[in-house]
Amino acid sequence: MKGLKVMWESRAKSGLTIGLLAGGLWALAIPMAVDDYWLRLLTTSVIYVVVAAGVGLLFSRLGIVSLNQIALMGVGGWIFLRLSYWLDAVPSMLIMCLAGLATMGIGVLIGLPSLRLSGLSLAVVTLMFAAFAEIVFTSIGFPTGNNGWRGEPAPGETSVPIPSPAFAESNTGLWFYVVITTTVMLLLLWVFLTGRWGRAWAAIKQSEPGAVSIGIHVTSSKVTALAVVSFTTGVSGALLAVPTGSLVSQSFSAISSVILFAVVLIGGAFSLVGAVLAGLLFVALPPALEALVARIPVVLELLGPTFTNLIYVAFGIGLIQSLIASPRGIAGDLAGVGVRLRRAQRWPLDPSDAVFAFIVLVVPPLSLALLDLSLAVYVVAAIWISLWLVHPLRTLWPSRSPRGIALIGIAVGLLIGALGFLAGPWVCLLAALLVVVSVNFLRKRLARRLVKMDEELASEGIHAQL
């Protein structure tokens, strides 16, 4: 209880409150704002948020590059489908937990090399497991509602999908079910991250000898991390099987694990916000980009039907940008916004922070819900670009007043939103990308210049002393 109290008193509390508040508002607004196709797509994105959070946790807290999480998700889905057939009277939530526990065992088993290996060697080993799982899924397939341990239809029989639960009949019901389950899984990860284990993982990441010297058991800490992440990944695999009562092996290819890792780095491996962004980028960005590019005849003529592969180029550019200029990902860039939101919770209340919190938390989901969708997207884009710019512009331009910085941010945000409204979504997207990339490169250059100046000053000091 004391540990929980200490945890609750920590700074993470305000982050959690804001996260739950913002997530709740978005979760309520989205079903009102988008059509069925996008709602299904966003539902799948939310499922992948948990997997992305697991990948991020292993990488950011323990330095483990795990390229087999999508395969583990498949394992969770496979076990869930089979258990759902055998235990048809048991509530699906319980079966999901059982599938998660079984995946936990397998995840720990295949994660054992991580206790001996690190870096590239470990990444390759996990990738090998992902390739192995892909072959197994392709050859034995996913179970359906038929007899036998594989649940395969006998010759002459037709494949029977596992009946979906009642709540999964409507898209909105499924959305809320997935959002709630995902929230519970993220809370589980949050409890570990901010508690005793999370601190031990941070110490191990910093230095294993240093961690050992304060009595941390490195092996059991790593096994715990693998177990927790495998459990949540297994549950999300089961969640993926809920809507249709069936799964296909193509969803669990080895390459998708690699792409997920890249996307987690782009979104930000160091926070759960980054995981949410990564889930969205991984599932919803490819069809969004396809829909956008399909409207540009020049690109269609140039690339033909292969234009769908453009998403890999987009992820590649994003990865390079995040590795060079933004190692904490988009979530790290948005951290400045988080600081102001946390400040807005303290008493006495600073009015400007309160207004800021209102704009970030309430305006985007409200505008999505109330405005025509196409217009709302540009409003949201304008708001987010404005907010994102505040933090980097402050570092680039420390002498400017906060009000001046905010005005510049708002002007650029409005310009990008207006561009999108007038010239189409792809112009908006390109302009936003251009702003983010160029501002980040400028920040990087400035940081290098500052380091150089520091070195020059230090050497001057040494010369003066001599």
Binding site: R196, A203, Q206, S213, G215
Partner: protein
């Protein structure tokens, strides 16, 4: 009493420690020597990060070599490193807490330790700390729970002279409060002589002198090890 008997460590063909036998009494003892003498290797053997090829390490009759490094830390053998090991992604308080949690201590004890070493503003992130504060934090982390032996590997490296001299009374106070056996490795001889009652000198993996500060520092073998021996003499 920390007793090392005929400790040999081999790195391929090189002997990092060549049959070192030493006894550290309760209190602060110094372990000095030129670069590559085997000081850090000795600390690594004591803390379990390096296994000796042969020899024994005992504390009041207890065989320390039978425990792994984590076990030794939990039993009470603590150490610091040349490169201090505070966790950058945590705050000062979380750094103390993580040590307390794993060394069988309570959060309230962690707060007392913070007061003892003189750390304030515990909610600051570690990257914002000065080098002195980082060194104090590392020292605080090592004395959580029930420490018995403290191995300090260059605890004042990178600190200005005034700050490093401030460290000596602090180590003495900690040593008295917890009744510790402290082994202190450092190149700063002013600091070592101020803090330690006895000094052991290693050179090329061998123990060349051991005794009180005055007699050890005037020992010709020690002078030769530090300054080299002229051919003309």
């Amino acid at each position: 009493m920390l007793n090392c008997k005929d400790v040999v460590v081999k790195f391929g063909g090189v002997r990092g420690l060549d049959g070192v036998s030493l006894t550290f009494e309760r209190g602060i003892s110094g372990l000095v020597g030129p670069n590559g003498a085997g000081k850090t290797t000795m600390l690594n053997v004591l803390s379990g990060f390096v296994s000796p090829s042969s020899g024994r390490v005992e504390f009041d009759g207890l065989d320390l070599l039978s425990m792994n490094p984590t076990g030794r830390a939990r039993w009470g053998l603590r150490r610091t490193f040349q490169q201090e090991q505070s966790v950058d992604s945590l705050t000062v308080w979380e750094n103390l807490l993580v040590a307390a949690e794993n060394l069988g201590s309570r959060p309230a004890d962690a707060r007392q330790i913070a007061d003892l070493v003189g750390l304030t503003e515990l909610d600051r992130p570690v990257p914002l700390l000065s080098m002195l504060e980082r060194r104090l934090l590392e020292l605080g982390r090592t004395i959580m729970g029930r420490p018995r032996i403290l191995l300090l590997d260059e605890p004042v490296a990178g600190l200005p002279e005034a700050e490093s001299l401030m460290f000596a009374p602090l180590i003495e106070r900690i040593c008295e409060e917890f009744s510790l056996t402290v082994v202190l490795v450092d190149h700063d001889m002013d600091f070592v002589t101020r803090a330690c009652s006895n000094i052991a000198v290693l050179d090329f993996g061998r123990l060349i002198a051991y005794g009180d500060c005055v007699s050890v520092l005037s020992d010709p073998a020690v002078e030769a090890a530090y300054l080299g021996v002229s051919n003309e003499s």
